[in-house]
Symmetry: C3
Subunit: 365 residues, 3 copies
């Protein structure tokens, strides 16, 4: 990597993704269709073997001598806990830094130096950071630093996994969404040819942005963007879709897309990024973009209702108590944990061992 | 459980306890005499086998593939650390959420959704929460949710253990107090027939409330409530004692009860619940309800001096340095860790394995 | 220990160190030359065996049934993470308390009672505390408390390790600095006979103070104190050096010492202790005490550039990207983790097992 930090940060995400591929997880764009399919299979194999003590014991030996750090300085329950669970399933030892006030940043340390410190001790850094360049910068710092660890016979820099970086990227969420869609569509031909309706704060929702990028890997997909004007999908994503010949349409309510959608992806108004947000409460969802219980009757039989969570009022509360297999968001959440097992296993080159063990134990996937 | 959340929360604690029995730990009332005796024996067996590496290794295999979450959003050192130690002795992998500011609650998530998220990843939730209904609500949410884990051959909902809920209940503290009393009275016939003096803030002390409830399981127990009028035991507890024919008396100083008491249970003024508390300091203990070193001479030979801790000035500091086996509160604290091992082991149906191993290793209890 | 707490705290550090020797780690002064040499060898042996799974597995069995608490209530990344990594390498189970607001101190508990609570549950307490007497007081409390654990066949009180106490002591940092110097000078005869330049905030830098104390263990060492007048080394240290016949000189810039120094130890202005610090930023380093990239050309060929980190502007940023083996501070940081493995292993009497295993695996050190 003969390039300095500011040069690296000035590259496009696609170019940065080329550097990161196989080494760190920074962008949804770094995954090919083959990567995505393999990670879904690996997540299924991991889930399969973990269901019995024999498999869980096997899995917990794979990375037993590896230490990881979860460096999360933005609020997170789900991503933080699911990474922790995934790491412990793989036998990793875990540490966390969640508050800059109790770290050396309070003594004036730079992010680059903090990362150098972390990678002096640990073998993996998972990070959530408000700065959209934090993940890429940390990757660059790790590649330039001296410490190397052995992974699959090779000496590699300490891997960085982005658990959400600014408003732009949340690549592991995008992978778990793909995994959930593949699972929901497993009897109707997978994601190819499907229509997905994305609803809510598309402008600032990094999950819907990352998911849109990944659609380039699938055939004949159509996206419906259901959002109030002020929260509509950004022009950069629309241009990306145009370039890749992916159909999309902007629509003014959930109801307009209900009949057509094979999958519905709800999102919350991300008012934590909103300088204009009322300080004494949260922005209410717009009536046209609230998913009502009555809509379930109008959804296709195989349509899945997803949400990256946390949710607020954009899904009617009664739906939490409906016994309908198309209400997918809680399963989607646990899927995230399995996808994170897959991502870490692949980075540390133990994926094949998991697949082999699964087949030995009877896995057909 | 064909009952919705608000219906469930409107049930009496005794009725809620019926639902929770064997599944989650919410109330001191859910334990019978038989339960209490068994848990004491199990705690003793756990302590016995853990003293040697052979037993500690055995114990750490029992729940090695289980993950737990300690969700403590009120200050706690003792309960938090003792649960953590108990979990690690049993081989569980641990995670914690201690601050709502770094969780998704800051993005407007409801408690029900937070619990649904937690139980998507983990196999046990231990929680301390300021809302007195938080434990019961979380139990209800877990029973209604989809995820089930296998415990002793059965599919069960994720168990919830209350580590203190509002001002009312702290059931694991009550169990450890019973365990400590049984230990202190092991040569004088156990708890039956004894007189316990409860001292201090009886009104808001959840430990003394929970302990009072448990007295219904013992024969001929008498309670002495030593407290200033404003902190005297609540009418609900007095009515409960009347219904169960348990004797009690309200007294105006520690000294009045010293000659009669077989056990003395001190408590701290719980001024963290007190809107009138001076912001610049803590409420001082009333002179009549401070345990003085001189009182040790007037205590019965088998009388134990207990305190749930943390303490302040209600016990004279010099007593920390007295070498008197009747000063029981530090041992009571470690007893709590062993009782929590027993509670978790019983919930996860590995209690018999511990008892069997203990007998194999020479346990006579 | 027939001495009460205030008597103990009134002893000199040297006298306190006599009590702590072999039991707890409170002061740099408690180590003899033999101790230091042994710990360096042990750190090397630990690093050697951990490089292969066979050795890492061996090491992680040594303290597998021991639980430790990291009680750090001042900001720390490096010391905290390196202790955690060291503990997990040795197989210890870890807990942490990092914020008094979520502990029982918020309910008025004394430090002595907090320590009594911690040692009821855990087998080792590592602590960083703003009070310079906190470590010594905790050691005294642990020695006086009832709980004992078995270590190497003996019953011992729970050990306390200081991870930094007030402005005075940071003994494990001093040991890792010694380890780093020995490593840097391994081909030029070790520390004996060398000249070390200490630069920056010598007045409040506990690392340079602790390091100065340790120099009494080496022959013919000379110290150069390069600092602005207001940050010059304290008179107590100068007197100590005089008593032990160790040469030192105060100099007015880094450049004045460059030709003579075998090792250069940079430090940061510790403005977190400074009541006069501007609240809106950090104090800038004085121009004469900033290490410039150009100085590398004037350093001796074997001279090492060290820093306890975190750093700010006292080292020119470009040096982070220079490929010069004399730039030692990132390796120094990871050395700290190995030295902490050694310190804990020695306290728990498993040092010989590590050395024996290392020799079996081919260690020549």
């Amino acid at each position: 990597m003969d390039i300095n930090l500011s040069e690296f940060l000035n590259l496009s995400e696609a170019e940065q993704a080329q550097y990161a591929r196989g080494k760190s997880i920074l962008f949804a764009q770094q995954f090919t269709r083959e990567d995505l399919d393999f990670h879904c299979r690996l997540a299924n194999a991991s889930r399969f073997i973990h269901a019995r003590d024999e498999g869980a014991d096997f899995m917990s030996q794979l990375l037993r001598n590896k230490v990881c750090l979860n460096f999360f300085i933005q609020p997170s329950s789900r991503t933080f806990l699911s990474f922790n669970t995934a790491q412990t399933y793989l036998g990793m030892k875990r540490m966390s830094v969640r508050d800059l006030k109790i770290s050396s940043v309070s003594k004036g340390e730079s992010l680059a130096d903090s990362i150098r410190t972390f990678i002096s001790y640990v073998d993996l850094v998972v990070m959530r950071h408000p700065d959209e360049h934090a993940g890429a910068a940390s990757f660059w710092v790790s590649e330039k630093a001296h410490r190397r660890i052995k992974v699959g016979g090779e000496e590699v820099a300490i891997p960085i996994i982005s658990g959400g970086s600014g408003t732009k990227q949340h690549p592991t969420q995008a992978l778990l969404d793909i995994y959930t869609l593949e699972d929901a569509f497993k009897n109707v031909g997978g994601i190819d040819g499907k229509t997905l309706m994305l609803v809510g704060d598309l402008k600032r929702g990094r999950t819907v942005r990352s998911l849109s990028y990944l659609m380039k890997n699938y055939q004949d997909v159509k996206l419906l963007f259901a959002a109030p004007d002020k929260y509509q999908m950004g022009e950069d994503i629309c241009e990306f879709l145009d370039q890749h010949g992916i159909q999309y349409a902007k629509i003014e309510s959930i109801e307009k897309g209900l009949a057509e959608a094979d999958g519905i992806y709800m999102t919350r108004i991300q008012d934590e990024w909103d300088d204009l947000a009322p300080t004494s409460g949260h922005v209410k969802a717009n009536e046209n973009f609230i998913f009502k219980e009555a809509f379930l009757d109008k959804m296709k039989p195989h349509c899945c209702l997803m949400h990256p969570l946390p949710k607020r009022d954009e899904i009617e509360e009664s739906i939490d108590y409906v016994d309908d297999p198309r209400v997918y968001y809680w399963r989607q959440e646990r899927n995230g944990m399995w996808m994170r097992v897959a991502i870490i296993a692949e980075l540390f080159k133990v994926a094949d061992q998991i697949i082999d063990k699964a087949i030995e134990m009877g896995f057909k996937g």
